[in-house]
Amino acid sequence: MSVDINMNGGPVILKAKDFATDQDVRWCPGCGDYSILKQVQTVLADLGKQPHETVFVSGIGCSSRFPYYMETYGMHSIHGRAPAFAAGLKMSNPELGIWVITGDGDGLSIGGNHLMHLFRRNFNLNVLLFNNQIYGLTKGQYSPTSEENKRTSSTPYGSIDHPVNPIALALGCEATFVARSMDRDVKHLKDMLVQADGHTGTSFLEIYQNCNIFNDGAFFSFTEKATKPSTTIFLENGQPLVFGAENEKGIRLDGFKPQVVDLNSGKYSKDDLWVHDESDLIKAQILSRFFDDHHTNEHALPRPFGVFYRTERPCYEDLLFGQIEKATGTLGDGNLDKLLAGSNTWEIK
């Protein structure tokens, strides 16, 4: 629940529905976006966020309609550029809680450049990347995260593009918070949203999201009960990497090589397993490479969900304001008359 100042100046207790606008939500029925929208509204209320201090900034695509449905401030900008708008907004108004909403096409294709620079600069804001491995709004072309050989309207003979690995990309750019979740695990998603928001710096949360019209079931092997235990691994800081329906499997490191081990075989115990350390960038990068296609590779390592990496680094806006403060401290508040006169003047009498 949350408290905001209402029109009359008094406090109001806010619930998830108070973060919903009066606009009709126009995603396709059954779209994974509905779940994400609901969890974001719930988490904001739970965290006691103030709507007027929160801004959602998006680009173009299905996911980017998000701001219209949030009773906060919002900007539905242009394709791929949400990170740049958000950066400018943060530098002008650093107290705002900013959420960048993007998708696999918006954030990794047309806007890939901006995402990369957003990560390295480390503004204090959150990026939610809805990955559905397809272009939905333009009716079903393959996306930069689509698997090879994917047949779509623009690839009738199958896609010959090799997919990008969003988590590896974020780690490569040294994002300071890198995590993955999914639309269909509400509890995990909420937890990741809370952690992303709690991180000071740019938080990157990739969310596997089902497009039931153009790419239905792309992530079912990770999200559905029957397969989820064996295809996914949920990361917890300080805990060994175990997975499986009975937690019967684990991951150990053989040098730099991850290896799936059977904990029931008697050969390995939990003590032999890789213990997740969110502060270890090298290990996070190895984890990010648990990326084999489960449809084509039966020996694929389980797909990790949770926080891959988390570190503290000064935020860009703090450094910027620090420089301004320092310059003002040293030189004093800028004097306009002195500025206009410059260093060399002469009189005409």
């Binding site: 029109m7 219209y68 009773e71 401030y73 400018g88 705002l96 990369m116 301004i324 206009l340 002469w346």
Partner: protein
């Protein structure tokens, strides 16, 4: 025995040469061209001589002209970098057509500039730049040396072994030869300061500040500067010194200013007067980069600069900053404006303040990065998808960029719109004396952010006042929650709307908002001449100087002409049509293929005459004068 020779015998040559050999001549105006390799420091030499000239009270105009490459192959024609300075005791409007003095640091510099000398001009030549290698690189045929073949006989040639003399002056220095040679521009500068009856004070002050942490380099530069100055005193063939009296400019305090610096001061002044910080998002591009460099220095004025990852991010960050309540500004040149087009369209839709500075250069594509052109006017007008009008203001001279920048910010804020501010390479790098204003005399820019409705009615982000201007509602303000975006807005509520009639209404509304700005800008005034007559010279941007000079020249010989220069290119001043109708003919000179002429014809159905030059260089007085006469 003549008296002078007797004196020589008595006092010795030194005293004689110091005091008796030279005579002081008065000059009304002088045009100097400094030319050398792009590594010869000609821009610095020209700049320093300009500063000193300004302080001496002359009116002046400059035209730096350099290759796009930082260090084009040494000695080649392509690598020649030049700096042109026109100064005098009368009003100076342009850097001038032809040079009285050429400083040629090598054979290529001579060859490139020879065609632009006045008959009998003085050429100061660095002999060391005319060896066989230099001659070959300058594409002189084998065995041809212009210093020896008599081809320069119509000029007054002063040959100086600049490189050798620099090394000689620095024979006790610990600097290596390469570093010593980098001081050779100071020899030339010293000599010219002597020749124009100046002191070395300003230059020494500059050097001391620039090299305060490099005492050996400072000492070397000072030594060579002094050597050049004393060369004037000692060499027998320097018989004349020239005195250019201060110009009769309006009374007041002046400084010298370059166009991009003046633009920066205009932005900062507007920021102070509006009480809002400037946020400048930009990506390096010639010739706009120096705006970023300058603004980055002024952090204590609250200026935020952001070197974005590309042109698009630059403008988007500026829009984000405007949304957050800063004055979002981005700066670029033609190719960058093309990249920013989509985002500027969004700013038109969002109806947020934004200033886009476009320092034009030769195009299309990469074009001529270091050369000037006025060829982005149509891009500024029409270079976006959809019906996407926005106001356009333009700077006419280096000092005028100050007022233009202030106006751009004022219009952006008060009319909630992106504004394109056009300048060009010629204005950006040119310098002129500027009678700068007092801060207190500059009007405030009133800013009114939206605040929560007291009666509790919901905030309507796209409700408008009589100027069709919506309110600026800053995130973080309670009671104003709303969403903005690029999808068509429903009038008043700002909700997404696909309603056909609403779209047409909104297109017309955005257009009307821009057109109504005409009610809030001054009427078009005349810059020179009568307000009716046979010919109106209608200019915009950096043709200001040549339009002034030509108009005054024509008036002097009795023609009935006038000059009007447009600051406001969209909307036009409300009296422009009426003003043009008072002349028999309207002629529009532009450094493009006729872009303003096209717009004026379209809007006013007037058969205007166009004069166009598209060579990456300014229009000369001579050619425009001749063309104007042909119309009269």
């Amino acid at each position: 025995m003549p008296v002078l020779q007797t004196l020589f015998l008595i006092f010795g040559s030194k005293l004689f040469s110091y005091n008796m050999k030279t005579q002081m001549l008065e000059k009304e105006a002088v045009i100097i061209k400094f030319a050398g390799d792009s590594g010869d420091g000609m821009q610095l030499t020209g700049g320093l001589f300009t500063d000193d000239t300004a302080i001496s009270g002359s009116d002046l105009a400059t035209f730096p002209d350099f290759p796009a490459e930082i260090r084009a192959p040494a000695g080649t024609l392509a690598g020649v970098s030049g700096f042109q300075l026109h100064f005098g005791s009368r009003e100076i409007f342009t850097p001038g057509d032809r040079f009285d003095i050429l400083v040629a640091m090598n054979a290529a510099a001579l060859k490139v500039n020879l065609g632009q000398l006045v008959p009998g001009a003085t050429i100061i030549i660095n002999e060391d730049g005319f060896d066989s290698k230099n001659l070959r690189l300058a594409k002189y045929p084998d065995g041809v040396n212009p210093l020896e073949d008599g081809s320069l006989s119509g000029y007054h040639i002063i040959k100086i072994p600049v490189t050798k003399m620099t090394r000689e002056a620095l024979k006790d220095s610990t600097l290596g030869t390469k570093e010593q040679d980098r001081c050779k521009n100071m020899l030339v500068l010293g000599l010219l300061l002597w020749r124009y009856n100046r002191t070395m004070d300003t230059t020494l002050k500059f050097l001391q500040a620039k090299f305060k942490n490099k005492p050996d380099i400072l000492a070397a530069n000072e030594t060579v500067l002094q050597a050049g100055y004393h060369l004037g005193d000692t060499r027998e063939d320097f018989t004349d010194r020239y005195d250019v009296k201060p110009a009769q400019l309006a009374k007041g305090t002046y400084r010298s200013i370059m166009g991009n610096d003046s633009l920066v001061l205009g932005l900062i002044t507007a920021s102070k007067k509006a009480g809002l910080p400037i946020f400048y998002g930009s990506y390096p591009i010639t010739p706009a980069s120096s705006i970023l460099h300058s603004l980055a220095k002024y952090k204590n004025f609250g200026v935020k600069t952001f070197q974005a990852e590309d042109e698009i991010a630059a403008v988007c960050s500026a829009i984000g900053a405007s949304y957050g309540g800063n004055i979002g500004v981005t700066g670029t040149s033609g190719p960058g404006l093309a990249l920013k087009g989509e985002a500027i369209g969004l700013a038109v839709m969002l109806e947020l303040p934004l200033v886009i500075c476009n320092i034009q250069r030769g195009g299309p594509s990469t074009g001529l990065p270091t050369k000037t052109e006025q060829s982005d006017l149509l891009q500024a007008y029409y270079g976006r998808n959809g019906e996407c009008p926005l106001p356009i203001v333009s700077a006419s001279t280096p000092a005028d960029a100050f007022d233009a920048a202030y106006e751009a910010v004022r219009i952006a804020i008060q009319h909630m719109t992106p504004v394109i501010l056009l300048s060009d390479g010629y204005i950006a790098n040119g310098a002129e004396p500027w009678k700068f204003p007092k801060a207190a005399d500059i009007p405030e820019i009133k800013v009114e952010f939206a605040s929560a409705r007291e009666n509790g009615t919901p905030f309507m982000p796209y409700a408008r006042d009589e100027r069709r201007v919506r309110q600026w509602a800053i995130p973080g303000t309670p009671g104003l929650l709303h969403r903005v975006g690029g999808l068509e807005k429903e009038d008043v509520t700002g909700n997404v709307s696909y309603d056909p009639a609403n779209h047409e209404h909104m297109v017309k509304t955005r257009e009307a908002k821009v057109e109504l700005i005409a009610e809030h800008i001054p009427e078009q005034k005349m810059e020179a001449g009568s307000d009716h007559g046979d010919l109106l010279i209608l200019g915009w941007g950096s043709t200001y100087g040549v339009c002034q000079a030509v108009t005054r020249g024509l008036m002097e010989v009795g023609y009935k002409v006038g000059h009007a220069h447009l600051r406001y290119l969209r909307p036009f001043p409300r009296n422009l049509g009426e003003l043009m109708s008072r002349f028999e003919k309207v002629m529009i000179p532009e450094i493009n293929n006729g872009q303003l002429a096209k717009i004026i014809r379209d809007k006013y159905l007037l058969p205007v005459v166009q004069y166009n030059k598209i060579q990456g260089t300014p229009i000369t007085n001579e050619e425009l004068y001749d063309f104007a006469v042909s119309l009269l």
